[in-house]
Symmetry: C2
Subunit: 146 residues, 2 copies
Amino acid sequence: MSDVDLIIERMEMRGHRVTASRRRVIDAVLAQAAHFTVDDVLRGARKVGRATVFRTMKLMLDLNLLCRILLDDGALHYRLSTRGHHHHLVCRDCGRVEDFTTCDVKALVRELTRSTDYEIEGHWLEVYGRCHACRLLKTAQEAAVG
Amino acid sequence: MSDVDLIIERMEMRGHRVTASRRRVIDAVLAQAAHFTVDDVLRGARKVGRATVFRTMKLMLDLNLLCRILLDDGALHYRLSTRGHHHHLVCRDCGRVEDFTTCDVKALVRELTRSTDYEIEGHWLEVYGRCHACRLLKTAQEAAVG
DNA sequence: AACTAGAGTGAGACCAGATATCACTGACGG
DNA sequence: CCGTCAGTGATATCTGGTCTCACTCTAGTT
């Protein structure tokens, strides 16, 4: 099943109509890079009204078809997401993103529960770094200069 | 040393003047609850210009006197912070915050480095839950209804 | 004490991301 | 075929934040 079909199916499953406008937004979202802003989608879905783009993206967020990704400067971007709970490893240079699910927070949750007496219900984790390609590039540049 | 003095000292140490306007912003920040928006500070520092409030808070952010805290709805709030790297455990009901530093991400970093070949440089972690008081309140309310 | 460079200020314009309003459209069930 | 209601889009508005620019204040220099 293609991404488009999956998205459409999930929307219909929840009783939402897949109109021409929504379809255009979905197409524009699928055409984006690893992560993007609403504005990027707006530019990619020309004939669709601003409000509808925001509404459709919020809907996709609610249906877990999109997720948000926090850049290290505090900006929130969007990203396609067809799975559930996961985190992001973002390359600070090129913006490339790897999803990962192995956040072993059990130990942390246990300790926090004990020390603070909170009932812990969720967490948000983003990891930042530099991907292999960008690291190679950087060392090559440094070698050229030095 | 009081919080005010600490903040003033750190500002002066870095060559920034502590003017009357900045002083008013600092006072307004110190008067806030666990976390707050720029707008809250704006309301608390009446005679100071909007731009100056933003500038001063950014300065305090740069000097690690403030930190940002990501609420689970994606909103970014500010919080007083006199220490370095730490994370937040936020109560979803009352907004109370506990700081903690024990984020044992070493294992995660090792695994991600191995599996993705990124050089990992940083992370952002927020934990959400319900504090003891809010839990008590909730169970009391449920008992009253049921 | 007067001078001056430069940090800091504030009113206001502007910008981006997002929501609210409201008249309209168009798809579907009866 | 009609009524209903989800969805649409133009537009206004809001919020969080930056930019600009003329101004002020202050610390250091003569």
